[in-house]
Amino acid sequence: MAGILIPFLIFTPWLTAILVWFISDKHEEGLHQFASAGAILSAILSLLLLSQIGDSTISFAKIGPLFGNLSFSTDALGIILACIANCIGSLTVIFSAEYMKHEKSLARYYSMVLLFIGAMSGLVLTANIFMIFFFWEITALCSYQLISFYNDDPNAVRGGLKALFITQFGGIGLMVAGLLIFGYTNSFEIGRFIQAAQGGEIPANVLGIIGFTLIIAATAKSAQFPFFTWLPDAMEAPTPVSALIHAATMVNAGVYLLCRFFPALEAIPGWKMTILILGLITILISSLMAIFATDLKRVLAYSTVSQLGYMFAAIGAGSVLACQFHLLSHAIFKALLFLCAGAIIHSCGTRDMYKMGGFFKKIPFISVTFIIGSLALAGIPILNGFWSKELILESIHSGTPIIIYILMLFSVILTALYTIRCVWLVFFGEPRSDLHVHDAPFLMALPLGILSLGTITSWLVFEPFSRSLSNSLPLYGIPKETLSELVSKIFWDPYTFLALGMVAIGILVWFLRNKLPLHNSITRKIESISLNSFGFEAINNGVVNGINAASEAIRNIQTGSLNWNIFGMLIGLICILIALMIGGL
């Protein structure tokens, strides 16, 4: 059964993506309906796949020489992520039917979104590392095309190319790791690699290279330090794309990669600590940047980066369960937040929060759903964000040095601060400019409603969640916990109240911001550093300028003069003679 469902799960969105080209931009209504139907069908297939969770690997034909077999695994890690990708994907496609009304090139838009959904399913379900790389690069292609969807806007094109380069650069890490795995185990199967690594068959230095190149790939894809600069610029994409790709699915691919290879790599000295430190630095930097940002989508982008940092920290602390649970919660509430932001931006035409204000009375439905999402983000009980964040904090507290826990608590303050700032600037206070907003039409309100419901209730599935992960991934050391265990563990833990206290402090700082001694030079300095992305944007620009300069310099060797060309030939002859003499004699 799973052997039939999995290929269908990948091919349904891909087939829809191809057929959408044939429907073309002339039949807009048909496009919206057909794309939504395809997305909903794949969502249903993914939910059906939930029943097939087990620990088997399904192998189809051999792909070709040096590529391994076309194999998929039915474990919970992959299937749950596939469900998230497909369900949230279908909700964003439905949202797009309204958001992208009367836009041009819709066929290209829908085909890229559907291609992406299929590729994401493939990425998490496959058990062959070459196929992971295959789907990984396809998601990078879709992300690039969708960010630069508005090709006439130079900012969008620049953002798209930046995302492409940075994530592709990370992809080199995945490629090197995949090839090394093939070289030293003679197979592309992940299961075989985990077995070999745990059995000590791979030399320690090679395993170290594999571990750290996979970290590079994951940090680039999930926009962690030092590769985080592409995600805020990716906000030039249409907002449903931001919700799907840059909040709920593609950026989770990095986290997925680390979780998938966890049992093979956790024993490498310094591996988990590196991930923990990277996650922590990311959380602190991006939270600071979110506090000072003025663009609504950028705040959400930085918040995504920061929440992914939480997931990285969970892996660094050793708890794959906490990481995946937070991934589930975050996908739901972040998609909710982005779609609400999309609805707001679509109706009022600006992304600048300092032009908004007082929207609560004008657009009550969007306001309520946005506030539900932001409560989950800040970690207020009983929403899903609270439970998963507490689980992460608990695993950090028990598994890592105390200084890390203290810094995490500080980050909880920052998270609460930027969340309340965002909510307050947009929805409360006096309107700062004369903007017209209207509440969400049905096709936009439906996904918002479904996602808010998910935000309130998704934590209830914790027990089957942890049980299926634990049963289907025996080597990963995932504990089985019941819901009541989780609730009582968190309720009776005094550290939970410490964390809640931090949230309260963050909210208080916002409301008392004019009374506290905050308008001094230190805050201004932090603000200007944050607005400049802590110097990383400057590094990016430096790299781009350096490459352009090198290119211009190298172009000069093409002199256009026949005499120089023949001279070059003779230089080549002399060099080859020298090389052969050094090596041959």
Partner: protein, 99 residues
């Protein structure tokens, strides 16, 4: 005797390449190419003498002559075109494609 031939080969090749590097006149470039090919051809004959296979070497040398004559003919045709288009035989007058 063989050393003399080797010196001749090396000097012909050196002269040929030197002219290719220095000259601007397309006709001199074609002549330089011919000088180069003749040098290489003598190398072929020398190789035949050293290994006592003169017939094989001679047939190869004749094939080389044929090949390089065709190249010279095409080259000279292009030189005529160059002269008609720009009025000079200077290749620097058509060095527009660079970088």
């Amino acid at each position: 005797m063989n050393t003399l031939v080797i010196i001749a080969i090396v000097s012909l090749i050196a002269i040929g390449f030197y002219c290719l590097i220095i000259t601007r006149n397309i006709l001199k470039i074609i002549v330089a190419l011919q000088v180069l090919v003749k040098g290489a051809m003598i190398a072929m004959i020398l190789a035949g003498k050293l290994t006592d296979q003169m017939e094989l070497a001679q047939s190869m040398a004749i094939t080389i002559i044929v090949a390089d004559t065709i190249v010279a003919v095409i080259g000279l045709a292009m030189s005529i075109q160059l002269r008609e288009k720009t009025g000079t035989c200077d290749i620097h007058s058509i060095s527009k494609l660079k970088r």
